[in-house]
Amino acid sequence: MIIIPGWLISIATFPGVIVHESAHLLFCRLRRLAVFDVVFFRVGNPAGYVIHETTDNFTSMWLVGMGPFFLNSALCILFCSAAFVPVSELGVPDPMSYFFYWLGLSIGMQAFPSNQDMKGLWRLMPQAAKQLNPLAIISYPIVGAVYVLNLARVVWADLIYGIAIGIWGPLALFHWLAG
């Protein structure tokens, strides 16, 4: 197993960090939560952060916490789709396609919400689940999986996830479009 420092991974995947923090900011704005400070990227731990107002509204916290996961995953599939056919299907050495693969995979690798992102959700989940909020109910396995996946980052779970959606996403999309 190759151990690569987190800051080096952050530098290599900096577009993903920026997209992740931008997604937090976007959902804070959409859900009218005050944002006190944003760092889109820095060399350090964490590589980026958004300090925002907390709320007791579970849906708002869910969107702010999980937003980056969905936005990063969608952008990963989109950018990798531009590269998938030339590089993976046809083996054409096209520099622009390699650039888009890097961009897409770096965004996909930074899709996982951090444990910090999940803390706000974890606080509100029991009450929301009691009120049968479907988001809260599905959040139990999601939050559990996120904690496990964050632990599994040491065995490249983030890279595996990025590659999985960066390859399978475009593959499924392409086969669907190709009829």
Binding site: C28, R29, A34, V35, V38, V85, P86, L90, A178, G179
Partner: protein, 352 residues
Amino acid sequence: MRHLKCSSCTKEFPAAQMFTVGGAVVCESCGDRLLEDAAAKHRKPEVTRVIDATICSRCKADNGETDFRIIGGAPFCPRCTERLYAYPFPLWLKASAAVSVLLLGFALWHDAPYFAAGAHLTRARRAMEAHDYKTAVTHFAEVLPVKPTEQDVILPAARAYLMTGDVAGAGAFLDLRSEYTDNDEFKSVNQFWSRANLALVEADSANKLVQANRTADAQRLMTKAARDYPEVPAFAVGALLIKGGDAFEHKDYDTFLTTSREARTLMPEEPRLIAGVASALAAKYAVTGNAAYRAEAESLLAVAETVAQRSAEDKTAYDEYAERIRHRLATRIVINGEEYNRRFRAKEASSP
């Protein structure tokens, strides 16, 4: 701005400059002293800054005696509050997003030929699974212009071309890579490629032997080519045509008719082979006068004419041989193409 009295020195200070140390409101210097005393007694009292809700925590605006709104535990003036709820996306981020969208648009436009080729590749693979090699080849032909290098594309494409008898087409794909991973698929296609090329050489030699009137050797070699490349019926047809041609020269029209029918069975949609049967039937009519032969020959000529409409080349060839066959049916004189040309077409060519 609010002022509070220090519980230790009793002097008054702006509230925003004061602290609570272990629950007591104190000024900064008293607070430092209390912390030193506590440290000497190995205690660590809780320290917090006193919040003056009349001072904006961001722009320090003073609201007199009226409290600002508390957000996230800190007071903010209306202007700063507005900014908190509409935290701006920086210009560099907007510019980067715009550039990324433009680049993505350019990439999608630039990759359009690859996407089209990819779609044809998917259809070609489906055709290969259905063993429909003709359809597969038409789709692989659309993949070739983007010059794929993926072995999983090249080898199936080469196989499809070889299955349809287009050795040159297979070669065009195989040339796209200089080296291959030596797996089962590669070994299989490589053997197929070798067999096909050997058969081509044998067929070429057989044609030369025909021209040298060494018909038996030509037929043997063409039969060998047909055995080496059984996937393509053209070589077996070639061997039958050599045999039939030899029979025609020896006026053995029964054998000529049998071999022509066998050849047509192998390639039923080939107009020249349909006309070949018509030619043999016309020869049989010429020597027997049996009208059944004539009727079948005319019927087959009509079929050949219909099928020949598919290409200009087939149409031109049809016009040439149909004239000779009709002459044979009309006159009951059997002459070969060379003699027909000498008697009738040379005159046309030389006439003004």
